[in-house]
């Protein structure tokens, strides 16, 4: 690609072409934020992952359809007993700096991320893991505190780092992994460059150099794509889809939901909560607010691609008359409820908030919409004693498992949950520990049905991820929203 500005850039590009026999294939990716660090185990940061997902690998991976497959592991792990899993590793793989990838590296990686003093933000994904030990050079056992059926999914999240270099102070600034791309440079504030790893165990990738740029403003990102400076941009706004050369979408990981407080006077009435659910025309929300780039949530917060998704549930029906009748018969007509939300934190958050408020207002309730600054919002969301009647939040289900969204939104005493259903809390804990896959799926089926019937929350939409792509790129994004450059190609 020849950048359109500056004669010197053109001259340089020409000089580069002359000095190299084949044309080096570069692509430019525009992210909405700069990675906070390139230590793949420290933070829970989507921009960091966008880069690290190409440098590092985990024991497990997912194919483009989202199914769990072995990554650095040679095969699916075997469960030795209730709390021990055994992984056989691929042999002959080394880190970019030459350190071998073996059982010691896995043990180091596991123990590093779970160490309390390391204070990883990813700890919530690995809370059940006790430690790891090497059996032989290519066999590792990972132990959990209780039964943990989704350990393989957790290991899809945990990136493997080199034991010697991992202790180097430079590690977070100049990463070394086993992945298809090697770290090449980081100009803080402006660019990160990765280069193809010619020795990658699964074949050398097609694109030689990847440049990541950080552009917070959606309009500026779009301009970068339109001017030909960028090949892929993330978080394209739905209204820009028709403008860009190419837009690709994939079912995303985010679901918007309104958690209702079952302990407050008005929202404590089950009929009122039911009315709040059926008062909303989710199809219209998806169509008008998101331009069709979202689907009505199927009556649950669990992502459709996640383990524990209840296939039997359908989206709450849209029945404005029924909702009005319920509000009337429950004696709540004219009462005021508070709906708390955000503006600008999540895609179209304010628009969803206002649309929902209008639907609810139409049932005969008075809806008081409040938008707080993020810190103040979180304080109210996490305060069980002074919970607003309804809080809109967007949950992102990176691990693709029902446990986190369910415990966060429904388990008494956790995160955003706002009910006093001790039995439900017990169920959620039980499902977390259940090792039998069938039984576990069945438990989630019951839990999701229970919260559906009890209307503990108002699931709204499953949002799609939209990427803007230049005309020369060929790429199909993945269900797990990872930007895997090895899966991209350029046709020129």
């Amino acid at each position: 690609m020849v950048k359109k500005y500056g004669l010197s850039a053109v001259a340089m590009a020409a000089a580069l072409c002359l000095s190299f026999p084949g044309l080096a294939q570069d692509i430019w990716i525009g992210l909405s934020a700069e990675p906070s660090t390139l230590d793949p185990q420290a933070r829970d940061d989507g921009s960091e992952r966008a880069v690290s997902d190409n440098v590092y690998e985990a024991l497990m991976a997912r194919n483009a359809q989202g199914e769990l497959i072995p990554g650095l592991a040679a095969a699916e792990p075997v469960q030795v007993d209730e709390t021990t899993w055994e992984f056989k590793l691929r042999e002959g793989i080394s880190f970019h700096n030459g350190e071998p990838f073996n059982a010691d590296a896995v043990v180091y990686s596991v123990n590093r991320v779970i160490a309390p003093e390391f204070n990883s933000e990813q700890l919530s994904y690995y809370a059940s893991i006790n430690g790891a030990e090497a059996v032989d050079e290519y066999t590792v056992r990972i132990t959990t505190s209780g039964a943990d059926p989704i350990l393989p999914s957790r290991m899809y999240w945990m990136k493997m780092v080199p034991p010697a270099y991992g202790e180097d102070p430079q590690f977070a600034a100049a990463p070394v992994g086993t992945g298809p791309y090697k770290f090449s440079g980081w100009m803080r504030g402006s660019e990160i460059i990765l280069e193809a790893n010619a020795d990658y165990w699964d074949g050398e990738p097609e694109i030689d150099l990847v440049h990541y740029r950080f552009i917070a403003e959606p309009g500026a990102r779009l301009a970068g794509l339109m001017s030909g400076e960028l090949d892929v941009i993330t978080n394209l706004l739905p209204e820009f889809v028709d403008v860009v050369p190419n837009a690709v979408t994939v079912e995303g990981l985010e679901t918007s939901v309104i958690v209702l407080s079952t302990e407050n006077p008005v929202t404590g009435i089950p009929e009122v909560r039911q009315a709040l659910n059926i008062a909303i025309d989710r199809n219209s929300l998806a169509e008008n607010v998101f331009g069709g780039y979202a689907q009505p949530a199927r009556g649950q917060l669990v992502n459709p691609a996640a383990f524990g998704f209840n296939e039997a549930l359908e989206a709450y029906p849209y029945d404005p008359e029924g909702a009005r009748a319920l509000i009337e018969s429950s004696g709540a007509a004219g009462q005021t409820i508070t709906l708390l939300g955000q503006a600008g934190r999540w895609l179209k958050d304010r628009e969803q908030l206002e649309a929902v408020a209008a639907y609810w207002q139409a049932t005969g309730l008075n809806v008081n919409v409040e938008i707080d600054e993020w810190g103040a919002y979180l304080t109210r969301l996490f305060d069980p004693a002074n919970r607003p009647d309804a809080v809109l939040a967007v949950n992102s289900d990176e691990v693709l498992d029902a446990d986190r969204p369910l415990s966060w939104a429904y388990q008494m005493g956790e995160g955003a949950s706002s009910n006093a259903d001790a039995e439900l809390a017990e169920w959620i804990s039980q499902a977390r520990m259940e090792t039998d896959v069938e039984t576990r799926a069945q438990l989630y089926g019951e839990i999701t049905q229970h919260v559906y019937d009890g209307n503990y929350a108002v699931p709204l939409l499953n949002m799609q991820d939209i990427y803007g792509v230049s005309g020369r790129m060929e790429w199909q994004p993945r269900v797990d929203a990872k930007l895997i450059v090895k899966e991209m190609s350029v046709n020129e």
Binding site: E121, S124, S190, A220, A223, G224, G228, G375, A376, G415
Partner: protein
């Protein structure tokens, strides 16, 4: 003058202390930093552990004591967001903002003198109306919108300049223009009205009457007398930009400066980074003010600094 500078520096230290104390208190009043730092779905247990880790579970006075003690040693702790020394982040971004300031506000300062003067020479003339009209436009168009329009015109449609980012000299042109416009408008209006006042004074009339050429009247008498006011306003433009007005331009053009970093630190509730940024900006502003005072004295010896 020496004792004056010492006194001003002493006051400056008090100002910096007061500002950082206010930031310390405010960042802890608005919301719980732990909630903001951790993922939305973190468990209650993890929140408590994190609060302990960064010391937020200790009494506020103890936290403040530690903060002051470390700040005296120029240690502002590690940025929670970037996990490296907060001061390192600040010192990395500060030069970018200064570069933008020099090229943006600098252009405004340099251009506003001739523009304002030309307008003042023939008040009500076509050139004057044009400059005043453009000035009003520059003042009333939001910087955000101007920035995007510049990008669309020069980068997307004509493909002449990069849309955003930093690196080559070409990268700085558009952000500088967006940065300069409102300042240029304010400063030229100031020069125009001050110069008009000056040119109507009697000694200027006398100078004209005795046949002194116009360019000498303007440069020797006019400029000299409006300079003090012009410098004050120019200093203010720099201070405005430093104290946060560069955020808009830096965000639109993805310019990795201090303003954008401050915004991100606020969004991520990165207390330690925020404290370091405020500390540095406060020091810079104190120094700029001091420099302005000294320049006054040099420009107009009649000014009594005491």
């Amino acid at each position: 003058m020496g004792s004056y500078i010492v006194r001003r520096l002493w006051q400056g230290i008090l100002v910096v202390l007061a500002v950082t104390t206010i930031v310390f208190v405010v960042t802890r009043l608005v919301g719980n930093p732990v909630d903001i730092m951790l993922p939305l779905s973190a468990t209650t247990e993890q929140r408590a552990a994190f609060a302990h880790q960064i010391g937020l579970d200790r009494p506020i006075l103890e936290q403040f004591g530690t903060f002051v003690w470390d700040a005296i040693h120029l240690d502002f702790g590690d940025s929670l967001w970037q996990r490296r020394a907060a001061m390192e982040v600040v010192l990395e971004r500060l030069p970018n903002t200064l570069l933008l300031l020099v090229s943006g506000i600098g252009t405004a300062i340099v251009l506003s003198l001739p523009l304002g003067t030309i307008a003042a020479l023939r008040p009500g003339g076509i050139v004057d109306r044009l400059i005043v009209g453009l000035g009003l436009l520059g003042l009333s168009l939001p910087q955000f919108w101007v920035g995007l329009m510049l990008i669309i015109t020069f980068s997307v449609v004509f493909g002449l300049l990069p849309t955003s980012g930093i690196g080559t000299p070409a990268h700085i042109i558009l952000p500088s223009i967006a940065m300069a416009l409102p300042s240029l408008a304010r400063l030229s209006m100031l020069v125009r009205s001050a110069m008009l006042d000056e040119l109507n004074k009697q000694y200027i009339q006398t100078a004209r009457a005795k046949g002194m050429p116009l360019h000498r009247i303007v440069t020797v008498h006019g400029f000299r007398n409006i300079l003090a006011g012009f410098l004050t306003m120019s200093g203010w433009e720099v201070i405005y930009a430093l104290a946060g007005f560069s955020v808009v331009v830096e965000t639109v053009f993805a310019w990795p400066g201090l303003g954008q970093t401050a915004l991100q630190a606020i969004q991520r509730s990165d207390l330690f980074l925020l404290q370091a940024i405020v500390f540095c900006v406060a020091i810079l502003i104190v120094l700029i003010n001091l420099a302005l005072d000294i320049i006054y004295k040099l420009v107009d010896p009649r000014i009594d600094l005491n």
